[in-house]
């Protein structure tokens, strides 16, 4: 098995770009759809092997192909192309940040040149393997989902937009696999840039003014992260002589090297859209649903937290860790607060992504075994649940023309399957016994010694409840229309991937201790997660889950038998009436008024604009203080 591992990894990295090239060469919808579905299926099949087939490493020494050189030149080429695009689109910030990166890279090449080779270039740490598992399974399912959605999204298949879309969508999982398996920092940098470019291209895919503006915002913010990444690489290489992740994480860093690690983490923060960089992810929601699902919730933004998590041994217990914990906790609370004032489904999901990533960063910063386990759990379950939500919201938005919460009200009447899956997705983000709750539980437990972090998490959790509970309830208004089951025509790929994601969100829960704790699967940094982290409460949670299933099943069976005669209209002071299945009342002049209401969005207190300025300011101050602190102590 170990001997085939490099080939599997190389397949997972090289197959997607290959498929992307093929699909770009094809004309017609069907062949492109087949390529997408085929690639998705292969990635899903590969995922367990990548995750569970043991560790591996890949060296360039003595290979016929000059891999290092290829990667370096590809990086230059990529940045140069994006620079041209950015200049043509008149993005000043974007161009400047890309130019800086190019210059720094050039400097690296000139001053160090040959010394930049360092083996192994690819390796698989435990965190990398879990992330790969998520990337490939969730990513694969989204590739299977996409054709059905995108065929409705682009009316005309031959404008090139669809080709463009599939090219970057297919390219992306390869870049992501490359990123998580990179050990050499410059390889990491290359794949990092590819994901940035994929994200930029896919946000802009609709070519509307709004889409392009959002894409450029994403570009400059993540390219700023790129600048931090190359600067970090320069620092850790110059002062520590490090070129690989395994060197950095071997021992706690200090002085300028810690500052370099801090810059790498800063890059992670921009990618994970933590405050003050949350803006790009929120605006990225103009992209089609599969893009939001794949890049902006379940996998690409995880690259940021992945980098921070994998670096955590290097900064554990330092000033940097406290700063990161504070930034993460601030994102967690503030995004929850801001999201409550929102009415747009996809934007709420984006805010909730930022806040969950904040929680993961808190865990990475805490750095204990339990916190690491929490981070992994959050990465896995958040990816699954959030992908499910984006896909269901996308499906519903396509059918109803609205992804406002008000538009999704009573979706159950016309789209029973989609609405129930969406509600399930919302509940798995929130309630026991689902995975995110287990992660949060471990996170809170690890944060016990830090009252400020715990307070931020506590208040944030309450906002979470407010966000999701009313949304889930809203969806299930009313009774399913007689023929809703037949009326809800979903493309088979969409149905399959949504159901599979729902099954994963629920079905992975009992597997947590086996696949997270078992030493033969993943050994974690800091001595590994031993079973004692889960002891005590975990079996109880499982029993709760089992009882819940039993109770829910029993209730469902009993309630199915309720005869139609028991159903009455809601109370409207005796004036109630029902027209076309819509509940309401007879108003003045015998005119029917549908029931209406609005929720507490607390927009007066928590309007986006009001809070975001101060939030960003606070985050910048924290970052400056942390940087100054590290420099001073170094």
């Amino acid at each position: 098995m170990v001997s085939t591992m490099p080939y599997l990894v190389l397949t997972s990295i090289l197959l997607p770009p290959f498929a992307a090239l093929i699909s770009a060469g094809l004309s017609g919808r069907r062949p492109r759809a087949s390529v997408s579905i085929f690639t998705g299926a292969v990635l899903i099949a590969l995922a367990p092997f990548l995750a569970f087939a043991g560790s591996f490493s890949f060296s360039t020494e003595g290979r016929p192909i000059p891999w290092n050189l290829l990667i370096h030149w590809a990086d230059f080429l990529l940045l140069a192309v994006v620079l041209i695009v950015a200049v043509r689109l008149k993005s000043i910030l974007g161009s400047v940040f890309i130019a800086i990166q190019l210059l720094v890279l050039l400097g690296l090449e000139i001053f160090w040149g040959e010394a930049l080779a360092s083996d192994p270039v690819l390796a698989s740490s435990a965190v990398a393997r879990v992330t790969a598992l998520v990337v490939n399974i969730v990513g694969g399912l989204i590739l299977i989902y996409s054709p059905g959605y995108i065929h409705r999204h682009f009316a005309d298949p031959d404008t090139g937009k669809e080709r463009f879309f599939f090219f970057f969508l297919l390219l992306f999982p390869g870049a992501m696999n490359g990123l998580v398996f990179s050990n050499h920092l410059l390889w990491l940098l290359f794949f990092w840039e590819v994901t940035t470019v994929c994200s930029f291209a896919l946000i802009a895919v609709d070519r509307t003014e709004e889409a392009v503006a959002s894409a450029l915002k994403a570009l400059w913010m993540t390219m700023l992260g790129g600048v931090a990444l190359v600067s970090g690489i320069v620092l850790v290489h110059h002062y520590g002589g490090f070129l690989r992740l395994d060197q950095i994480t071997a021992a706690p860093a200090s002085g300028p090297v810690l500052l370099g690690v801090g810059l790498l983490c800063f890059a992670g923060l921009t990618k994970a859209a933590q405050v003050p960089f949350q803006g790009w992810l929120i605006d990225a929601m103009v992209a089609p649903a599969p893009v939001s699902a794949l890049l902006h919730s379940s996998t690409m933004v995880k690259a940021g937290v992945y980098l921070i998590l994998i670096l955590s041994p290097a900064f554990a217990g330092t000033f940097l860790a406290s700063g990161l914990a504070l930034i993460g906790a601030m994102s967690f609370l503030a995004m929850g607060v801001v999201a409550v004032s929102q009415r747009h489904g996809k934007r709420i999901l984006a805010y909730s992504t930022v806040l969950n990533l904040g929680m993961i960063i808190v865990c990475a910063a805490l750095g204990t075994a339990a916190a690491t386990a929490a981070a992994i759990l959050l990465i896995v379950f958040h990816a699954v649940s959030k992908a499910l939500l984006f896909l269901t919201v996308g499906t519903a938005a396509q059918a109803t023309g609205s992804s406002e919460l008000d538009g999704l009200r009573g979706l159950f009447r016309t789209m029973p399957l989609t609405s129930v899956l969406m509600a399930l997705g919302l509940l798995t983000l929130l309630l026991p016994p689902f995975g995110l709750m287990i992660g949060k539980w471990l996170a809170l437990q690890s944060a016990a010694g830090r009252p400020l972090v715990i307070a931020l998490l506590a208040v944030g959790t309450a906002f979470h409840l407010m966000l999701y509970a009313r949304w889930a309830g809203d969806l299930l208004w009313g009774r399913a229309a007689e023929k809703a089951g037949q009326a809800e025509k979903l493309p088979p790929g969409a149905r399959l991937s949504m159901m599979a994601l729902a099954a994963l969100a629920v079905g992975l829960v009992p597997l947590v201790p086996t696949f997270l704790v078992h030493p033969s699967f993943f050994g974690f940094p800091g001595g590994g997660v031993d079973a004692s982290v889960f002891a005590g409460a975990y079996p109880g949670i499982l029993i709760f889950g089992a009882l819940l299933c039993a109770a829910a099943g029993f209730a469902a069976v009993v309630l199915r038998r309720l005869p139609p005669a028991v159903f009455r209209t809601p109370y409207c002071c005796g004036a109630e009436a029902k027209v076309d299945g819509q509940a309401g009342f007879k108003g003045p002049m015998n005119v029917f008024e549908p029931a209406r209401f609005s929720d507490y969005h607390l927009a007066g207190s928590f309007g986006n604009q009001k809070i975001v300025f101060w939030l960003n300011a606070a985050a910048v101050i924290v970052m400056v203080v942390v940087a100054a602190g590290i420099s001073a102590t170094g």
Partner: protein
């Protein structure tokens, strides 16, 4: 089984959640019903609670006369009261249509639209009479 049933009858007799609906008229009966709910008469000692919601109601107190418009409202409300329920007509208007009976828009007393269990006469009846009316309807729950 017998005991459970006995307990159920007892519970029904002891726990009466009432709602009051005024169909129209001079509102005198409403005022007397409200008076019966004050601490002075302390209806809660009989387990009687005022609810504003037919879905929680056991006893509906109807005052005023039925017309073509409020007839639908009354039917809607009663439709939302889960059985077993007690319907008490309070005051002359609810009994017969009262002084408004001959008006062009009036259908008559509450019993023209719904099955009334207890009639409390008076224009308006005193609070004591209202309480007595509610409690004398309790035998319906024996069945």
């Amino acid at each position: 089984m017998g005991m459970m049933k006995h307990l159920m009858v007892r519970s029904r007799r002891r726990s009466l959640w009432m709602m009051h609906f005024c169909l129209g008229g001079c509102n005198g009966c409403s005022i007397e019903i409200m008076a019966a709910l004050t601490p002075m008469y302390d209806l809660e000692r009989f387990g009687i609670l005022n609810t504003g919601n037919p879905k929680h109601t056991d006893v509906l107190l109807v005052g005023g006369s039925v017309n073509h418009r409020n007839r639908r409202t009354l039917k809607n409300l009663i439709d939302q009261i889960p059985a077993p329920r007690l319907i008490v007509a309070v005051g002359t208007c609810a009994l017969t249509g009262g002084i408004f009976n001959e008006a062009y828009n009036i259908i008559g007393g509450a019993n023209r639209v719904v099955d009334v269990d207890v009639y409390v006469p008076g224009c308006p009846p005193k609070p004591e009479a209202v309480i007595d009316g509610i409690l004398s309807g309790l035998d319906k729950f024996e069945q």
